[in-house]
Symmetry: D2
Subunit: 392 residues, 4 copies
């Protein structure tokens, strides 16, 4: 990626709307920054809260034209679709249970959707959303943002290129500690909806972070899950969803894996970590130190591959803005998903397909919801092996 | 621990015999060095190999009196027991299937036994060995050496002292890569017996290293395993035992855990790693960097506790020879087990009990064999939850 | 810092012009991204190259109105100053020797200047630039961007708050390896001007990166340099400026320090590292892992303070966008300088002073140039102690 | 190195005496453990303290024959030399100012000497000791123990083999924090003599640890110091020797270096760290994590070479007892010097020279004392460049 477009002419910015992400939200701001970093988007409209007053205040915060700030996402979808310069794409950053409802309205009007994960809070909604995308001509991009990190791309390229040989074992984990206590009872908004099964879905830590871990494990390894056995726990008294999950996985072709997700592991801030081992080598990556990828060819010394450094290939290179040693972080990784989305949207606007754009699709999203559903079902059956529900 | 006994009078060295550990062995040499580091033992006799010639050559290598080098462990037990200055203790460093047979003969003659892990290659032998110890007046010390590391002792002291609150989650893993290929077919001796179920037992990686991981997890957390669900794999074609194992664990009282052992994970040399999380904090320790213990009190910054450094307490202190920043390693950790054994043996020789000596006992050994047995049984039943066989 | 301004109304964007930073430049793109991340600026005009054609092409790349893309920075300064909605601030990202010439023209027309480091290529120019700033009502911000990292701010706050006691020793280094070979002879643009004393100044590595190291050392420690002794080397045959520098420093009040800068140290990508030791504790920070700050209170365990995590205070908090464990990087640190600049510029536009805005000033810039000058002078005198030239 | 001699016949143990190292000493115990690890020595006699009573108590602690425990080192030298089975070698572990006096008496009687560093507390004594060694037929081994670490050996082999190309820059440092306060006034024995110029010499941190850093830098890089400029400080009020030192170094052939030693840097336990950079690559090693050596071939990813692992060569291999991933530490590194000494002594006893034994000699020791002397002289002359005094 050239830095900031200075070696090729940049097309006009994509007009972006947003649903959710008002005051006190976390991920809405992340999406907005991500949309700005590479200057592919311009935020033009939004419905930032289900509370009208809050939506308007947030729109004003962001300096939007008040006419483009809506009290209601349906009204927004209708009006923006009719406008000559209405939003071309919409970012959906609501709690999980709203994703489908919101996305449907924009998709049916041909407005491209960039949607936060997980795809939906239920398998039914996830299935409906797949159909809505298929019925629409619009693009749908799910922000499993960790797949946007350059070294995750490089890891995927290595596996695909055979550097690890045949993959045998995948170890993935995503640990946090912020829910070690009963934070939801204090009124903290993030903890509130994320532990409310009505809003987040039946999976707690599995849905909130386990799905990220599962997504990145499949993204890098290229494997397809065949079955899983899960033991989910809810350690904090009174909590209504799992806050720790242990999962054993069997992949098609014989590879095996373990997944651990936890929001009650003190000392872990946002510790997503992936390790993949094959017949010819192994790799390790940790989200908190994302510019590093460790690679050991079997029988050789471990090597540190750095973003932009020696040994880092094309797949990472196109996701990289600045030289090695100048760390890129979470926001840049997120921006990479937005950059891929821009490729896909612009191609679609030309009636083409952006073959080179790599991003999590609605099908990846369905797999994620299906993974959470399978974890919950397995755990309810005392850790029996279950097959994730497939789309058909 | 004072350095090298210079602040207290050292009692006479314990006369030590050895069974196993001849030329080309690995662990025999480790035991010998461990026995020498603190000068508590003097090697006086041995039966170093089942091949007489090899045993004699090894005895000569070690500068032993040829009369004290035996072709046969039974002859050794008999003669040494009759001698006035025969060995007071014997180190057993044979392949696993011989542990019981050898130990029995020395125990019944009142000679203390320091035995390599696992306790035995079968549950039956393990049970018999427990009885042999109980029937004997002699001490029995199992060298789960990783419990000898000072920072492991400190971790245990922290958990016992309530620093972590109530333990919720235990993540333990032991990964290696040296069996990624079919090394046993090349005639490599270590690979040969360790992948031969007749010699090592039904568990491969589970028995060789998983049992260490399980032991240290229990040692530090103080938890008792209630049941487990295991998915064991044998990735290398033709191998007769597991070379990778995934285990979910449920402990009495509600804590949960995961255990991963692998000998086919490229980039891992001897990566035993333990993490314990409770309501009040979390700790992390890695065998390859054993002088460090990471501790995060919930809501506070992570702290690095170093061997001998600030924050390192009495339990670690008595296992420490040199100041912080001067790394102690595997051999010193192993020597700590030998030092504890010396305390126990000397106390026994005085008709006392060494209340302060902490070392893995025959009961810990039984639990280890029972763990491996449970893993194998669970995996054979497609990962069903099984209860480890108890002694009674 | 709230994420993306959603809890307070954002003022209109500052209109930004740019001089330098066209195709093939590195730092221009960085400035543009940094200016966008928090949405405080809008790029409206530029003179991107001394080659007219290249400037125009770059302007087109960036989607600017061709009328606002200039062939000549003087013409730009004149016209933009006259326009009703001309640029309010200009980012200067040319090679060093142009900083003064460009800045002067904008400053004299009341346009605020955000200028890349070092301030100038000669001490004379630096002095003139100070006067130009003093004669102007405009703000001047120097992008010693590493001072924008949250944990650097926290380090500074700790020292100022007495957490380290009295500072005794400062160890700072900035090592790279990209100039280990004679890259400038290959036509590589970055290597070319950075090793050309006409363009970069008399100091090579000292000016390019040593000045960053010096700046951050003073920023965090709060110390003032009294004298230095430098031994500069030029290892690559034919190179015209130093590519490695060793400097001993004496600070007012008795503290001492060492500074190492190198561009010929293989294995170092952008290894800026600072350590400060006082009577009560020590801290360590490394630019390549910028979200971590290590703090050891004397006699206590080392602690890891993370950006946004426990123990991280207000000074870091206002520079932080996202929760702990979600790494921020170089671009966010750079954006923090732009956010501080926006505070200062908006305050100035209201006739006020932004007391809370912390950023490198023209005086810091002078000190940096004076430091490089002192290094060159000392080295020419065989490492004699020299006093940096002061402004008066 | 085979583990514990089991693949070759071990010669009889060397009879070892010791001077110094009684109760409350630190380094005496280290020498004793080091002498035992590989079973090359047997401690037979000693004069453990200048206080007769303490010497006897220490001898009793160690279980020695009281007749072989002396009140006076001269009596010991005389009697042991006359005995048929007197000590063949003596370990000298007294404070620095006694090294020469003691060594002389044993050397002149043909008893080999293993002496702690630094060689002497004055340049005069160092010179005399060189002469005493040259006049004697006995071997003299100085325990600059850090050169015994396997990865230090590997680093040296790499430089010598040209893996780094021509060495340009050496950065070495040795930082501690235990003297941050005025510990010597509390009666702490170690702090007492180490800060007493009568006992330790004119250099404080320079003599105690700087000399280690200098030794290892030369050992690995193969460079010869040409001149140095030093700025030594004494930060703790009332202290009589330096507790922090900054040194710039010029080596023959054009390489340059920096050395930092400090005993007042909170957060550093025993942080000896070496970095060597050449035209073709760079290496990094840290004493606190001694099993790792980082190597970056210019333009390739950084590699982690581990003790015993892939990429670790013969020089390290002969210093290694156990497989990779089983950390060896300080005591094993120290034992390696004792193993090399045993080779040298046994060869000498056969009238041969042990060409393959690599250990610090009396000449290395002279260079170390000369280095400290030069630091003190340079600092006294305000950091002027001085040439270390050579032997002739």
């Amino acid at each position: 990626m050239s830095i900031d477009g200075t070696s090729e002419q940049r097309p006009p910015r994509i007009r972006l709307g947003m649903v959710g992400g008002g005051r006190d939200a976390f991920i809405g701001g992340v999406h907005r920054i991500a949309s700005r970093i590479d200057d592919h988007y311009e935020l033009v409209s939004g419905c930032f809260s289900s509370t009208a007053e809050k939506s308007r205040a947030s729109g004003a915060d962001l300096g939007l034209d008040p006419k483009r700030v809506y009290d209601d996402f349906l009204a927004m979808a209708k009006r923006e679709a009719r406008m000559k310069a209405g939003c071309e794409a919409v970012a959906i950053v609501t709690p999980n249970h709203m994703h489908f409802l919101v996305a449907r309205e924009f998709l049916k009007r041909g407005i491209h959707v960039i949607c936060d994960k997980p795809l939906a809070s239920t398998l039914q909604d996830a299935r409906k959303l797949v159909k809505a995308v298929e019925a629409s001509g619009a693009q749908f991009i799910l922000t499993h943002n960790y797949t946007g990190y350059p070294m995750v791309r490089h890891a995927r390229e290595m596996v695909a290129g055979g550097d690890l040989g045949e993959v045998r074992v995948v170890q993935v984990e995503y640990a946090q500690d912020w829910l070690s206590d009963d934070l939801e009872s204090t009124g903290q908004k993030q903890a509130g909806w994320r532990t409310d099964p009505e809003k987040s879905g039946a999976g707690g830590s599995t849905g909130d972070i386990g799905t990220h871990a599962y997504n990145i494990a499949c993204f890098v390894s290229g494997l397809t899950l065949e079955s899983l056995a899960a033991d989910l726990q809810c350690f904090v008294p009174g909590r209504r969803v799992d806050d720790n999950g242990h999962v054993m996985m069997r992949f098609e072709g014989g590879a095996r894996g373990m997944l651990w997700c936890s929001q009650v592991a003190p000392g872990n801030e946002n510790a997503l970590r992936l390790r993949v081992y094959g017949t010819k080598g192994g790799i390790e990556w940790a989200q908190e130190d994302p510019n590093y990828l460790w690679h050991t060819p079997l029988g050789e010394p471990k090597r540190l591959i750095t973003r932009g450094g020696a040994g880092s290939g094309d797949a990472a290179g196109r996701m990289t803005r600045i030289p090695p040693g100048h760390p890129e972080g979470y926001l840049e990784g997120f921006a990479n998903i937005y950059a891929e989305a821009a490729r896909a949207i612009r191609a679609a606007q030309q009636g083409e397909s952006a073959a080179d754009a790599i991003y999590p699709s609605v099908y990846d999203g369905f797999k994620g919801v299906s993974f959470v559903d399978a974890c919950v079902r397995s755990s309810a059956r005392n850790g029996a092996w279950v097959t994730p529900t497939s789309l058909k």
